[in-house]
């Protein structure tokens, strides 16, 4: 029934007849799915390769099976995909005692159709499985053969290599066919015993690894044998993985080092490193060992989405958006964010870069996440510090400016803006030239230019426009400024308003120069209670004292002002100083060469609210001249007083002298009224006439006197002879004139210049006196007048043998209205006038007289023709002034 044309031929076993028709029918219907073992065939070929590769389940009777089994082809049997074994009852008993492979399914006859079907289906499944396993086996076989890992299979009993791949063959430098079947110990002839020992251990499962050297030509390879024991059928085999570690050792070491380096690098950086996929799921997570959040280990993150790891929603969202963008644009990005952790804020900066697979497609991102909290805090602190210092600068109570490297102002503080009244923008746009006073611009710009070129500090006073529109003086100090990198960044400076100070300075300067140029000596004295040193002396002080300003400073005040020590004045000054009182007084100084000078001194304590030291201010002036003038004035005053007294006396005398004859006349007139006798009346009238002429004479004399004292001197040539003659003519009417013998002797050789009128008066008076006071009792009353002129002078001698003047009267003869005797009928003015005239003409008069013997006057008058007019003029003026 089972046909076989090549492989489809059916073989029926001896039990064929035992197979029920339904089974037969089933088998025929399913002949594509089942193979039937032909006993004969088996006997002929055993299990050929052909059979073994049969992919259908085998149906065989027990005899066929036994045949196979007894031939010891159990291993082959095992290789069959599935065996369906038909058994009768007897055979079933025998089979039960056999150790049958798992792919054998027992079918007890009679076989029911349903059972057969089930079994067949099961077998088909097994076959299918087997088929697949066969493919696998080939796959794995190919893996084994082609593996780059050298592999051999060893029979530990025979020490024969029973299988090997190409890589193994390469190690031993043999062909695979050569290697298979060769003995392992023969490959390692030097390690025979060692090898056997190792294999023993392996069989005893004491070891799974050993190392052997393999000598190949001149090279020794170091081989590592990793061992697995495998069981094929009943046979125990050893499966080796061989590693040629001759090179690998080094590679290992290198790898190890690189690994270590990477590890330590990862550990050493503070950054978190993690990878995320497109959806934000954590793939990997590395964390530096010293990271703050140690609790957040990789377990917490890996496999979770970024939304589920406790990030704030906005941070997670930001991450996802950035990831999307990074992947799309294939460009790294950085995001900063804050996390609240452990009660404080932690700042992170994450660098997100695309993560690509082997094909270069971005599948996700790598994130290098850095904790920048410290940096942020530093930044924050810096910003606060910066703000603080900016505020400090801005609110600083003096004016601050700053210029950049191109000399342009780029900062002004609040104080500055308050000064100028501008807002910052206007201020920055206003050029220096507009801010400064026109007269200061040049100096300022050149100073700034120089400061910039030398990078040096500068200081300068100039005027700056104030918001009021007036210019105010400021002191402007600038210094170069360097940025944090030490690079020149321009200038920074301050301005102080010094207008008030400057005004005060100017006032002070003015005061100082006023004091300096004062026409009085001004000194400032320190009140040290002992030496009273001079601490300031103006120029005039040295003019007065002759002590230079330098020499005055520090010297004792009393000695500087030149007050003689131990005088009352010096004691008074010292006492004033000691009692802090003021002093005013005159000091008489002698400066060495007996030259006396007078100084006026005022000293007053200085009320001082600034210094704790006390001072005096002294005003010193030279009053020597004033004093001299004062003396002169005093003298003149005295003179004037004298003159006044004289005038008084003159008025008194004159009034009396004038009144006296008038009263006499009145008396006579009274007598006349009652006198009847004509002789008596005539007598009275005569007397009246006489008295009147006397009165007239007095008046004339007064006029002469007045003329002499008031009128200017007129110089003319004097003809003495003519004067004397005229004077005598004038007096010829006088009683007893002709009784006198006149002896005139004039030697008028040179021209003589003097005042004509005055000399005329002089001679008139003399001649009148000579006649009036002559002694006519004498036999020969005479008068002798001698005149001798020279270029220098004229000497006039007038003598008589008259009554003379008593000795006691001589000093008084020139006094006004002095009459020495009751005999005289003169006015008492004559000689007074004579003396005045002679004095006026710079002459001299001498008198010599003896009572009853006579009188001689000697008069000396200078000849003005010989005088220097100038000299004379001076004399004249002097004389006038007196």
């Amino acid at each position: 029934m089972i046909s076989d044309s090549k492989s489809t031929k059916f073989y029926l076993t001896a039990h064929e007849k035992n197979i029920c028709p339904e089974v037969k029918k089933f088998l025929i219907e399913n002949k594509n799915q089942i193979s039937v073992i032909d006993k004969n065939k088996l006997s002929e070929n055993g299990f050929s390769e052909h059979l073994r590769s049969e992919s259908k389940p085998w149906l065989m009777d027990f005899q066929s099976f036994g045949h196979l089994y007894q031939n010891g082809s159990a291993a082959h049997l095992q290789q069959l995909p599935s065996v369906l074994l038909l058994l009768n009852e007897k055979e079933a008993d025998v089979a039960a005692k056999l150790d049958l492979p798992a792919n054998v399914t027992l079918l007890h006859m009679p076989v029911k159709k349903g059972m057969l079907k089930l079994t067949l289906q099961h077998s088909l499944k097994q076959v299918e499985k087997r088929k697949r396993s066969h493919i696998d086996e080939e796959f794995y076989r190919s893996l084994f053969l082609n593996s780059l890992q050298p592999k051999i299979v060893l029979d530990p009993e025979s020490f024969k290599i029973i299988d090997s791949n190409n890589s193994a063959a390469k190690i031993y430098k043999l062909k695979t066919e050569e290697l298979i079947g060769s003995s392992l110990d023969k490959l390692h002839p030097d390690e025979h015993e060692n090898l056997h020992e190792e294999i023993k251990k392996i069989v005893a499962k004491e070891n799974s690894y050993f190392k052997l050297n393999y000598r190949r030509n001149n090279k020794i390879l170091e081989l590592e044998y990793f061992v697995n024991q495998i069981k094929v059928g009943n046979k125990q085999l050893i499966y080796f993985n061989i590693h040629d570690i001759t090179k690998k050792e080094k590679a290992d070491q290198l790898f190890h080092e690189q690994h270590e380096m990477l590890r330590s690098t990862l550990e050493s950086i503070d950054d978190l490193f993690f990878t995320l996929n497109k959806d934000g799921d954590f793939i990997e997570y590395y964390q530096p060992s010293d990271q703050v959040n140690l609790a957040l280990t990789s377990d917490v993150f890996v496999g979770k989405n970024i939304y589920d790891v406790g990030f704030p929603l906005d941070v997670a969202k930001k991450y996802l958006q950035t990831i999307e963008r990074v992947i799309e644009e294939d460009k790294s990005e950085q995001i900063d964010y804050v996390l609240e952790a452990f009660g404080s804020q932690l700042w992170y900066s994450a660098r997100i870069s695309p993560r690509k697979n082997a094909l270069g497609v971005a599948e996700g991102v790598t994130v290098l996440c850095r904790d920048i909290t410290r940096q942020k805090r530093t930044e924050e602190t810096l910003k606060r510090a910066r703000d603080f210092y900016l505020t400090l600068l801005s609110d600083f109570p003096s004016m601050i400016w700053k210029t950049n490297t191109s000399k342009r102002a780029d900062y002004f503080n609040k104080t500055w803006l308050e000064f100028t009244g501008n807002d910052i923008d206007t201020e920055l746009q206003t050029d220096w030239v507009e801010k400064l006073h026109m007269a200061d611009v040049g100096v300022f710009l050149s100073t700034l230019l120089q400061a910039y070129s030398k990078k040096e500090s500068f200081q300068l006073e100039h005027r700056l426009i104030h918001k009021s529109g007036e210019y105010r003086w400021v002191i402007n100090a600038g210094r170069p400024m360097y940025n944090l990198e030490g690079k020149f960044a321009g200038f920074i400076g301050t301005c102080y308003d010094i207008t008030e100070r400057r005004k005060a300075e100017e006032t002070l300067k003015l005061q100082k120069s006023a004091i300096e140029s004062a026409l009085e000596g001004i000194l400032i004295v320190q009140d040290d209670g002992e030496n009273y040193p001079v601490i300031y002396a103006n120029k005039e002080v040295s003019n007065i004292t002759g002590i230079s300003e330098m020499d005055s400073i520090g010297k004792n005040f009393i000695s500087v002002i030149g007050c003689p020590l131990k005088t009352e004045t010096s004691r008074n000054i010292i006492s004033a100083l000691e009692n802090k009182k003021s002093f005013k007084g005159e000091i008489e100084c002698s400066n060495g060469c007996n030259k006396k000078s007078w100084r006026l001194l005022y000293v007053a304590p200085v009320k001082n609210s600034i210094s704790s030291e006390n001072h005096f201010v002294a005003v010193l002036s030279d009053i020597t001249e004033t004093k001299a003038v004062e003396n002169t004035l005093r003298e003149r005053n005295k003179q004037l007083q004298k003159t006044n007294e004289e005038l008084d006396r003159f008025v008194y005398s004159t009034s009396h002298e004038l009144r006296s004859p008038l009263m006499s006349i009145l008396g006579l007139v009274n007598l006349l009224e009652t006198e009847q006798n004509s002789d008596e009346r005539d007598y009275y009238l005569n007397m009246i006439t006489e008295t009147i002429s006397r009165l007239d004479k007095i008046i004339h004399d007064i006029i002469d006197y007045s003329r002499n004292s008031r009128s200017d001197i007129v110089y003319e040539n004097i003809d003495f002879k003519g004067f004397i003659d005229r004077a005598m003519e004038n007096h010829a009417y006088m009683e007893k004139f002709d009784k006198i013998r006149f002896d005139i002797d004039v030697k008028n050789g040179v021209s003589f210049l003097s005042d004509k009128k005055r000399i005329e008066i002089m001679f008139n008076n003399f001649i009148s006196n000579c006649i009036r006071y002559h002694n006519f009792d004498k036999d020969d009353p005479w008068v002798r007048i001698q005149v001798k002129t020279s270029s220098v002078n004229a000497v006039i001698t007038i003598s008589d043998n008259g009554s003379g003047i008593h000795e006691k009267h001589i000093p008084k003869v020139y006094e006004m209205f002095y009459r020495a005797t009751d005999r005289s009928t003169g006015s008492g003015i004559g000689l007074y006038i004579v003396k005045e005239i002679i004095e006026k003409l710079n002459g001299k008069i001498k008198i010599q007289s003896e009572l009853n013997r006579g009188t001689t006057f000697v008069i000396e008058l200078p000849n003005f023709s010989q005088k220097e007019p100038k000299l004379f003029m001076m004399n004249s003026v002097d004389a006038e002034n007196f």
Binding site: H656, M663, L671
Partner: protein, 131 residues
């Protein structure tokens, strides 16, 4: 009342003449003596005080302004005279001076009883008799 003796002291002859005439006309005194200087007047008074006390004048008319010794000088010298002269003689100043000082100074003297200005008048002399 008519006085026994009157002394006129004046350096001016005219004034002496005028004064004598007025005194005579007034009939003031029986005798009139004239001295032309203070010095001679003192000498005269001294003489009569010694020799003829009856001649001691009852009244002296004394001029102030005179050469050498003036009226005031006379008054000083008058002090030196004997007591008897002082008791009897009264002095009337007779001067042309209208100076108040002279008047005051003269009136301060204990012997001066009156001060008259020249020229001497009859009425003035008659008034004197009532003293």
């Amino acid at each position: 009342m008519i006085l026994e003796n009157i002394l006129l002291i004046d350096d001016s002859d005219i004034d002496n003449l005028v004064n004598r005439k007025v005194v005579e006309n007034a009939g003031l005194s029986k005798t009139i003596t004239i001295e032309k200087s203070a010095e001679s007047a003192i000498r005269y008074l001294h003489d009569i005080a010694q020799n003829d006390t009856g001649q001691i004048p009852d009244l002296i008319f004394l001029d102030i302004r005179m050469p050498e010794i003036d009226g005031f000088g006379f008054l000083e010298l008058f002090e030196e005279l004997p007591e008897i002269v002082h008791k009897k003689t009264k002095i009337v100043m007779l001067s042309s001076s209208v100076d108040a000082e002279d008047h005051k100074k003269a009136m301060a003297n204990r012997f001066v009883v009156h001060y008259l200005n020249k020229p001497l008048k009859k009425e003035s002399v008659q008034k004197l008799t009532q003293l």
